[in-house]
Amino acid sequence: MHPAPSVILFTSLSGVGFGLLFFLGLGMPAPLGLNAFIFYAIAYAFAVGGLLFSTFHLGHPERAIKAFTQWRSSWLSREAWLSVLALGMTGLGAVAQIFFETRLAVVSYAGAALCLLTVFSTAMIYRQLATVPRWHTPMTPVLFLTYAVAGGALLSGQVGIAQPVLGLLGALQIFAWIQGDGAFARSGSTLATATGLGTNGSVRAFEPPHTGTNYLLQEFVYLVGRKHAAKLRLIAIILLSGLPIVLLVLPFNHMFAALAVLTHVAGVLVSRWLFFAQAEHVVGLYYGKRG
């Protein structure tokens, strides 16, 4: 799949943002006044910034409001609702903490739950696609949620939680990569099933329908950069899990904490790039571009 910067930034940043809002909702920490303002400002910068990036992916962003209508069937529509509800609910809690110096427990817990549901709905947009076997697994929402919780724990300064969750995240991501590498073959879709010609012999793509490129090839048959995938995976794991854990083990200071956040977010961006760039869409079969 084409790794569009808008979608990579959207899923990565909003995941971190909702992760931080989740911990603020749980009251871990429960800052008041100016402190609360700083925490919530960082969280909203990530969450809302990420959501704004998603609109760059749209052909007609001016009609984005219509995306709220089809929540009965569409995960993308559900995500739109959940993100607004999560931002609204945590926003109520934020206003109370910043301006009235009180914590609204029920509102905050509800906001925390909505944050996780928002991340879950984002993941389900990808998980539901049977056309991309690498994504079509329960691992996709598990990973997205673990990413959000790990990033949130890191940003909210919950060192005791961040360390094990970052370790778990690294392990889950490696497992997902290994599992994903065989997903297309296991899906059973081949050029033979795509054309129905398999009973007559072995099928080979002889001539494509067009001499130039097209939307389908640009969007679904992305090939650039796959040769460095193994190196990029190593870089991603070190940045998103390894280095932050080491930095958290060292005696605490704000410099190390900031560095841990930066390396983690950089690692998330690299792994999210791989999430898209390495995803193989079955339509590539018609062009003879899959195994």
Partner: protein, 248 residues
Amino acid sequence: MTCLPKMTDKKLGLVIDLDTCVGCHACVVSCKGWNTENYGAPLADQDAYGEMPVGTFLNRVHSYEVQPEDGLAQLVHFPKSCLHCDDAPCVTVCPTGASYKRTEDGIVLVNETDCIGCGLCAWACPYGARELDGVEKVMKKCTLCVDRIYNENLPQEDRIPACVRTCPSGARHFGDLGDPNSDVSKLVAERGGMDLMPELGTKPVNKYLPPRPKDQLSSDQTPTQSLQAQADNPAGFFAWLDRTLEKL
């Protein structure tokens, strides 16, 4: 509403005969022509006369080589467009309700004024039947020429999809695949019409008729074999020529 209808009154669709398609791409051209000039946003091209032309098409013809265990390879031309699936994954993912499947005839359409161009429906389609237009930034797909088939301003023989009307080899058929007594349904039953990627559970309405088995040529009967025999054992004038040239 992007929930799929439980059932549709008709299942209008195409039956494509892979045995008779000659790969001329006339259906591609007539489709592009009709759908650029009529319903909805035109099918745009970018850099049409330049080095890297790109454009939107609703129908494309692939060509595949099928190599049997023994015998000669066979070339199969393979037109591909929207299959108007009963269980269309492109419809249910749409966040705005722009994509929908009609209850009356099962045609899958896009309401272009509601489309936000997110591209998710194209991601959900296994067949590459949807393309985001490079100029209008809305999703384009086969409409089964909904503006022809019910169009009372056209003569009766033209009230079929443009690709079917134009096909010079009679490889494309249009009709109600929900009616077991329709011509297309009988054709599918008779020729063993098949679904593309049935494992994905999309339940396509369009069916493909597999190529008929070809006359069996054994390996010593291939067209080049008879030429090889002449070259190895020349007779008559060629035998004399062969002997004479050998002596030089």
